[in-house]
């Protein structure tokens, strides 16, 4: 069913990562993703992987959920691994047959890239697991607020993002309802060629558009009635504040980055 698509996969909890300031979390996530790409050899990558594993432990998110977030990139992983194994040449040859050969360098690069992608996915999914979409957009708004000098409507953009996220489940429900209603009138959504199927979507798409526009107007009215006038002079119920934990995490991350640079320096480069 359409409903099964998970979105904004927040995992409720009270862990260290959950309680961190979302702004700091966002910056550190970006920073650590960059750090993944600084790693040049297995030693520095191992340090990075260790950091990711520790982050998982501190987030309190069950390993099962983490594995679930890796699942969608499995195809990409397999694809990159195969490409790297067969197309990167160099070093000792392990295996050769006809035009295909597998070399030491190929295996190493494949392994390296796969681990790198996994670490990347784990770290970025930790952000969405421990931060609600609303907190995330709030953080983005706050971080981008210096752009106001250039007359960028940061608040409006953030509000649009929040609303879009908020209405995704509603829209999914609506699609399901309309689909059922049309199926009850004998609409055939499953069989036929491509054109037939595309045509079959019209009875679903049009009511969806109509109700979305209606909903948007209603929401705009409701917001106006509650004196919403955009970001100016608006205060927040939940103030974001940096705590000791945010700085400690920052130092841990800096230490990891320093470690990566040192390890990169002392061991030979693989990639």
């Amino acid at each position: 069913m359409v409903r099964d698509i998970t979105f904004g996969q927040y995992y409720a909890g009270k862990s260290l990562l959950h309680r961190m300031d979302p702004r700091m979390k966002l910056i550190l996530t970006f920073g650590m993703i960059v750090a993944i790409f600084i790693c040049h050899n297995f030693y520095s990558l191992a340090l990075m992987a260790l950091f990711a594993a520790a982050a998982v432990v501190f987030s309190g998110v069950p390993a099962k959920m983490i594995l679930k977030s890796i699942k969608p990139v499995m195809v990409i992983l397999a694809f990159t691994a195969i490409l790297n194994i067969f197309y990167t040449k160099g070093g000792e040859t392990y295996f050769e047959w006809w035009k295909i050969s597998v070399t030491e360098k190929g295996v190493n690069t494949a392994l390296f890239t796969v681990i790198r992608i996994i670490v990347l996915v784990v770290i970025s999914s930790l952000l969405t697991y421990t931060t609600t979409p609303t907190m995330l957009t709030d953080a983005i708004e706050r971080l981008l607020s210096p752009l106001k000098i250039f007359h960028v409507k940061v608040h409006t953009l953030a509000m649009m993002m929040t609303l879009a996220l908020r209405f995704i489940p509603t829209l999914i429900e609506e699609i399901e309802r309309i689909m059922n209603a049309q199926k009850a009138r004998g609409a055939d959504l499953e069989s036929g060629g491509l054109i037939h199927r595309a045509k079959a979507l019209v009875p679903i798409f049009i009511p969806l558009m109509v109700s979305s526009f209606r909903r948007a107007y209603e929401l705009a009215f409701a917001m106006t009635c509650r004196c919403y006038t955009g970001g100016n002079g608006r205060t927040r119920m939940k103030q974001m504040k940096l705590h000791a934990r945010d700085f400690i995490t920052l130092f841990v991350c800096l230490a990891v980055v320093a470690g990566i640079i040192v390890l990169n320096h002392f061991f030979t480069r693989i990639i």
């Binding site: 309802r177 059922n180 209603a181 609409a187 019209v202 009511p207």
Partner: protein, 287 residues
């Protein structure tokens, strides 16, 4: 004996196998006979909409079987598709399903999916529109330009035009003013009288059900809690109340009067009848 609708030991779960699993239907056994006008009533979330979605195979039971017109829906795809046309399902707030450029074309959507001839389709569209009381000049308008009540009628006409053997309506009067509500309800009993079709009406208003249905099926937390004639079901007013339902106000007044020792009937469901009885009592007293 085959029934238009028969459910045997049907259970249904939403999101099975997850922590969010909800048992929406629990071991339902139900037979609805030819030409019946059955009302399904129940508190919000009791499983009414889930139940009727089984009647035309939109939902497939996790356990048990659904037999429509003597054929098990699990048999094959053709049986399932045939059931879509045998059982016409009109959902809650059906105006959300309108999409065509004109009302007439929207009503024709169902018949067109049945692959009928153009003449037959036109015939049915006219008949259904007339039946629900849509004026012919509205037929060429865009469905989005209609009023709320007219939209509702157009959507119901869209299901009626398929001429299903069983017409199932989920809260057809929800959100309408009292006048519009009564018109829709009398339209439904008129439809049943004229076509002899089986009709299933879902509602959580006791008054609505009492005014049109022969049989009342009470749903509570995914099970059928009561099933009987209007009188039988309403005589259990205490149990109904425990399920978050209530007998019509006028009936409650009469039940209370009986408790106070007045000799009045307990099966009064409409204000008109109640007023008549009370007037008579007052007249007798003053004589």
């Amino acid at each position: 004996m085959t029934y238009p609708i028969e459910l045997r030991n049907v259970s249904y779960y939403y999101s099975p196998g997850t922590p969010l699993q909800v048992a929406a239907l629990k071991n339902i056994n139900l037979k609805i006979g030819e030409g019946e006008l059955a009302g399904i009533i129940g508190h919000t979330g009791s499983g009414k909409s889930t139940l009727i979605s089984h009647f035309n195979g939109l939902l497939r039971p996790v356990e048990g079987s659904v037999i429509i017109d003597g054929e098990d829906l699990a048999k094959d795809k053709e049986t399932l598709r045939a059931a879509r046309f045998k059982v016409g399902l009109c959902f809650q707030y059906p105006e959300a399903q309108l999409f065509e450029e004109t009302v007439a074309r929207d009503i024709a959507f169902g018949p067109k999916n049945m692959k009928l001839s153009d003449e037959e389709i036109n015939e049915r569209v006219k008949k259904a529109a007339e039946f629900v009381g849509l004026k012919p000049e509205l037929l060429e308008k865009s469905p989005f330009d209609l009023s709320g009540g007219e939209k509702r009628r157009a959507a119901i006409a869209g299901v009626m035009a398929m001429e299903p053997k069983v017409l199932v309506l989920d809260e057809p009067a929800a959100g309408l003013d009292p006048g519009g509500k009564n018109e829709i309800l009398s339209m439904i009993s008129e439809y049943k009288k004229r076509t002899g079709c089986t009709v299933v009406l879902v509602s959580h208003s006791m008054e609505d059900i009492a005014s049109v249905a022969d049989r009342v099926i009470v749903m509570n937390a995914g099970t059928i809690a009561m099933d009987g004639t209007v009188d039988e079901v309403f005589s259990h007013s205490a149990e109904l109340r425990s399920m978050g339902l209530n007998v019509p106000e006028i009936t409650r007044i009469f039940i209370r009067l009986r408790e106070l020792g007045y000799d009045v009937p307990a099966d009064v469901y409409s204000v008109e009848k109640g007023a008549q009885i009370l007037r008579e009592m007052i007249r007798r007293r003053s004589v």
